[in-house]
Symmetry: C4
Subunit: 386 residues, 4 copies
């Protein structure tokens, strides 16, 4: 396609960038198919003509956009001869998500570790431990903020449920999901492992003996450093609702912050990481008690697996009435609902909610959905993106 | 009018945007009438020619500006065929205010709930509950900040008293007030309802039994989560003064932050949400003890109604010597006074205070006021805005 | 003067704006005299041709720049007919300083009042009072930040010692000093008076009886709400040094933040208020214990006078070994030293320190100083500024 | 060289500024040699033609770039006649680093002093001392932030390990290192000395007698104000790991924040100081317990030397099993590793890691490294930089 040759694509982390395009009205599947799901300009105007066809195929097979989000001057022919540089190009977004999640977990789990293990220590300056509950709000808030800075090249979702909502409502291709998911969960596993390694002697000291590892509600339990355990009085329904509502708020506000047609939000993304700090801090200070505001599968399941692997007993799974599945499932439901609410009431850009029957026509008339899907596939093929 | 046809209007959320216009001197009612109370450019330069005449009439009947603040590319013909999209266009500003207030209340009331209900819990990391009084300053501060991001398309007043002051001093048409008021109070009701739903099992646990609900100064009262109750030693006059002075500061600083001729303030609005975080945080840390800094009818009355509806006893109204009316009335007085002070001493733009007799000529010479009013009406009609 | 007619002046709040000019090298008094101490562009490019000659004379008599820092469109002929508008133009900078200091004191003293009076109250959410020492750091930090936003049109010094240093090192004319000083001290008096009025019933309750007012180190003293009293173990020398060093840091960092040739600082002033929040917060958290970090005559003397006026006993003056003079004198010494250090080691723009003998030639060779002074006066006269 | 004459150099603080250049691909030593390690534009576009050849030689002898980072208008001929102005030009970067570190240490050590010495004081507002552990996170975070503002003209490393990593991965010439190192350590010594002078009477009071000075784990030890001492239960390996991992995170995130090709980071440096506040706050809240997060030789060794000099016993060296060498060595290892990780997984610009064998070819084939080195030397000579 001639126009494609003139406008080679570089990256496709949906969300904000998509919205800078002029969207055609979304009414018919034909129109829907015209939405530029794969777009082209890097933020500094440079475009890459160079990604070799082998790399493109490999990336495409992994579910990523054929072209890596790398500025042209950094992606030259010679560099591509280096094996590791090739790997780096192929796995650019997964690497970004992975390290973003690692940074987030390091600060988040690290703050819980420091506050929990030093509880009431009288030798601390101030005489009452090295931090208070609020330090944990700080830790997760700034962990997410710095993680977003680190993971800029992948869209910085840092949360499978947010990737999920972007697939659902913001035209992020579904085939991106698995690779992102793997990178995020791995990041949670590795990040919490580093925290464990750092605090291993302190955990021994706190639990009262080398190798003793207990899970809440044991009195000296340290498993709560890594993943969340609910308060004992909270019913199963309240557990789910608490995670659900926090995830709903998370997605609703993120969609507002990423909505360029919303006059309350700066046109640039510069304020986004700071706003996320306040958002996550707020969720911790306001909805963080009952279930520990996991609101993120990779932040809860990854570290839970890690803690089980390094020797915590099987109560990591059974505690709280096999609570572990709630922070895996509720964030997806909550984020989907939060995105739904935002698109239903405020968003005016292209979203399934802004199509006939609030998008349900796609559900109840499979032919209609199939037609829209085929249109998009045809278009993607024409652009050489399969 | 030819010039109107060339400059179609899109939105009119007064305050900052009005002030970007070149104002003519305000001295005579004729001059006053020339002030562009209804203005036109969307922030990205796009203008909407498309809002159908039915929609315009409906919006006008609701007291809103005939044209919705929606960017042209998002408001095309086809979309307008969808029933829900029409509703969305008609109720754009009420929806924005509603959700802005919901987000504000979720974080604000949520922070009080978490701190109050977990008071002194020794199993918390740090051993002393899941937050302290300062968490509440954080909650309200960042709730307002994020609410402003969400409610950008309506002006993000989030407070009837602030809407009121903008009508009084900043040429926001009075007919906008009722619709904004309804949306704001509803937002308070719904937002606090969600907080109640989230913490219902924790409230049962804290109060000491299923369905027990008490109001301060009962020892285990939880009604204070939703709306404000004064300290017992504060006299009625001090109650009123405390709410009054906090509202005065609120309005004074907001007018300073929105004053484009004030050299201390950036020309863009990007810093506004963050500055509001500090302002609300400060009011909570400095004027939040005696009466709980309601400073907002919709933040206090909405949740109070909700708490009464879900089963709190009638003390929600009678507590503190029927205190409930103070956070309904004092914010209006305080914000009006704060705006008056700012316009009297600092503001040099168009304000009734900057007219003869500090605007009192309008009061004492009805003919003068009538003349100014008729001028404005005539102008509005000419622009097809009635 | 032809060039003056073409470049009419509007405002002259020194500091940052001065530095945007291209300075000529400072070596000889002639060169020094060429520095544009009175400058012209308003930040939005508008200039005022209109300030009437009567107003100019009145302003000049008060020590202010003949032209008020008001954008042209806000300073039209008709408005000038209104008496109050004339007053507003004449007293623009004093009004700005006054209200800036009022806002600063409201939040600063308000935070001390709330924390002190509610110490240990178990009915608070969290069970331990309505704030902690850190709330006071927040209060003063954000009070200064919001005060700067409010007082943008006067330079927002909010502190006589900082005005003093700007006269000394940054060519702010000395005749500005008295008017600014009066406005600042009045602001301190009024601001603390409002805090007293707001907390009067709480003070009665805390002191243990109507009208009882005590001064530290009395066990239930409340005088510490308004002005600073030193810790009992601190020697006089340490008292002075503590105020001195905090003022030095204050001025050193402010000069760095206002230095446009310093590559660490953004060229715009947008970050300045936020950076000041951190600076003041830091002084409170790091140098706020021994003497209460007054670092500001108007913040300490104004409220001290107010507290004496409303009935606190004469210990407000005698406490701490007649400590009251230290926060009056030390900030001037400290700020002068801080400015000296910055100019000596880092500043490369026009400063007396960057002249022969580090500016001491002016001191030891009166003829040299006189010559420079006469040059500047002649130039000012030529521009019609006397 | 003609082109050099046309493009005279002014400053060379590597890191961000280097990266704004268009880098040639790094594959061969020849290409590597072409990297503009010494660059030219000052941030406001001005360039200095004036630095005299004597000054250039002196600066070069000190290991600094021959041209000082001073805007042309500030570096005129006449000024250069003044002895002190010459010194200021010669020592520009060392002065900047020195004062940046002084500011950082003043706030950092100051916050520890205030919290530690006032622990549990019941006369404080709030009744529990003048700060809590979190104040220390604030102190170090904002100290670094303000230090970066002050030290803008030197690159604001404020940490020998960060300078080291910039030499290793970002083409900062190694000959810069010694001068920076000296300035930084001196800054640590002087800054902590000022804190000691300020709190000397409080330290006497806290230790229980004039001149008594003890080191942790003594019950009333105050040596912990100035430098770090590990928790007693932490093994030597954990001590090292804790400092190592915190330094790794520090460098990894700083490289991300300074990477212009990372889409998560704003193109301007304006957000950098604020992001560093959050980063340092986070390290204090999450990795600050076991060893006190020195992560910086000059922040730990400088104050340790000072405390020994003013009379603390020799336990300052022997405490914690001669722990003192760990915060000297571990930060270098950690920062080197953090930079390695960032360059390995994310950075696509010019870095040794992005050369054959991840840069190890330079290690194992000395001839290859020598060739690259000679190329760079030849180029530097041609530009008159030796």
């Amino acid at each position: 396609m001639a126009s494609t040759a003139e406008q080679p694509k570089t990256h496709d982390f949906a969300g904000d960038e998509h919205q800078h395009h002029e969207f055609s009205p979304i009414l018919s599947p034909e129109a829907l198919a015209k939405i530029p799901t794969e777009h082209s300009t890097t933020s500094n105007g440079a475009v890459s003509h160079k990604t070799s066809s082998t790399l493109r195929k490999t990336r495409s097979a992994l579910g990523l956009h054929p072209d890596a989000p790398i500025a042209e001057e950094d992606d030259v022919h010679e560099r591509q001869q280096l094996l590791w540089s090739k790997v780096k190009v192929v796995l650019r977004e997964p690497f970004a998500e992975f390290w973003g999640v690692v940074i987030m977990i390091l600060f988040g789990d690290g703050s819980v570790a420091q506050v929990l293990l030093s509880t009431g220590q009288t030798t601390a300056p101030g005489g009452n431990g090295f931090g208070a509950y609020q330090s944990i709000s700080w830790g997760w808030g700034l962990g997410v903020m710095l993680g977003i800075y680190v993971a800029g090249d992948s869209g910085a979702y840092l949360n499978p449920a947010i990737t999920f909502s972007n697939c659902l409502y913001r035209q992020l291709p579904w085939r991106r999901f698995p690779m992102y998911f793997i990178a995020q969960v791995l990041g949670g596993f590795v990040g919490s492992g580093i925290v464990y390694a750092n605090y291993i002697s302190a955990i021994d000291w706190f639990e009262g003996g080398h190798g003793i590892r207990t899970v809440p509600p044991a009195p000296k339990a340290t498993a709560g450093i890594f993943c969340t355990y609910p308060q004992p009085f909270v019913t199963k329904a309240s557990q789910f609702f608490s995670e659900f509502i926090a995830s709903t708020i998370l997605m609703f506000v993120i969609f507002a912050l990423k909505d360029p047609s919303n006059n309350g939000v700066g046109k640039s993304d510069k304020w986004f990481p700071l706003a996320l700090f306040f958002l996550i801090f707020g969720l911790g200070a306001c909805f963080g008690w009952e279930t520990g505001y996991a609101i993120n599968l990779c932040r809860d399941f990854g570290p839970r697996l890690m803690s089980f692997a390094v020797g915590y007993p099987s109560e990591v799974w059974s505690a709280g009435g096999y609570y572990f599945w709630i922070p895996m499932v509720a964030p997806f439901c909550g984020c989907a609902f939060g995105g739904f609410l935002y698109d239903l009431f405020i968003f005016t850009g292209p979203s399934p909610i802004n199509t006939p029957w609030l998008g349900l026509k796609h559900l109840f008339f499979p032919r209609y959905a199939l037609k829209a899907r085929r249109e998009r596939h045809r278009k993607a093929k024409a652009e050489g993106l399969v």
